[in-house]
């Protein structure tokens, strides 16, 4: 999260991907760093997944990752 916030502060758009286990920790750390970086969460757990399952998670998260790195449509 520090890297995401630091690089974003340096002007590099960032997307931070974590498992759902990390939602609260990422929220707290963002708050602690005074930042609100783009965060994408994939279903926990990770460590015991097969390669195929991890690849499926990547495919599922991909559109959200792209959206986080492009201008938001709302603004």
């Amino acid at each position: 999260m520090h890297d995401t916030v630091n690089l974003e502060a340096a002007g590099v758009p960032m997307a931070f991907v974590a498992s759902t286990e990390f939602i609260e920790a990422a929220e707290a750390q963002s708050r602690a760093l005074g930042a609100d970086p783009a965060r994408i969460f994939v279903a926990h757990p990770i460590q015991d997944r097969t390669d195929a399952e991890l690849e499926a998670l990547a495919e599922l998260a991909f559109p959200e990752i792209l959206a986080a790195l492009t201008p938001s449509r709302a603004s």
Binding site: V17, A26, S30, V42, I46, P71
Partner: protein, 99 residues
């Protein structure tokens, strides 16, 4: 056993017109991925590489240039040199996979 007292929160007064949010603003996004280099930063937790390999394939399939980076350890922030290298080489970065 003694526990540290909860530190008093440090509160600053906003010197601005208060029209914008108080959190740091995100970096400006490029309108599209055309000509962009996307960095994939592996935080070096086990299994993250598989996830990022697939993300790389998906990006490359869209014609996006990809640069791969890996932190020496997920337990510490990336060294300044690595951050600098990433900021220099990449237009945007995906960091994964924390769990």
């Amino acid at each position: 056993m003694t526990s540290n007292p909860t530190p008093k929160p440090r509160v600053l007064l906003d010197p601005t017109s208060e029209r914008a949010a108080t959190t740091r603003e995100r970096a400006t996004r490029r309108p599209s991925f055309d000509g962009a280099t996307v960095g994939l930063l592996d935080i070096s937790k086990p299994r993250g590489k598989v996830f990022l390999d697939r993300i790389e394939e998906l990006l490359v399939a869209r014609g996006v240039r990809v640069e791969r980076f890996a932190k020496p350890t997920f337990t510490k922030p990336a060294p300044a040199d690595l951050r600098h290298e990433i900021a220099t080489k990449c237009d945007m970065v995906i960091e994964a996979l924390a769990d």
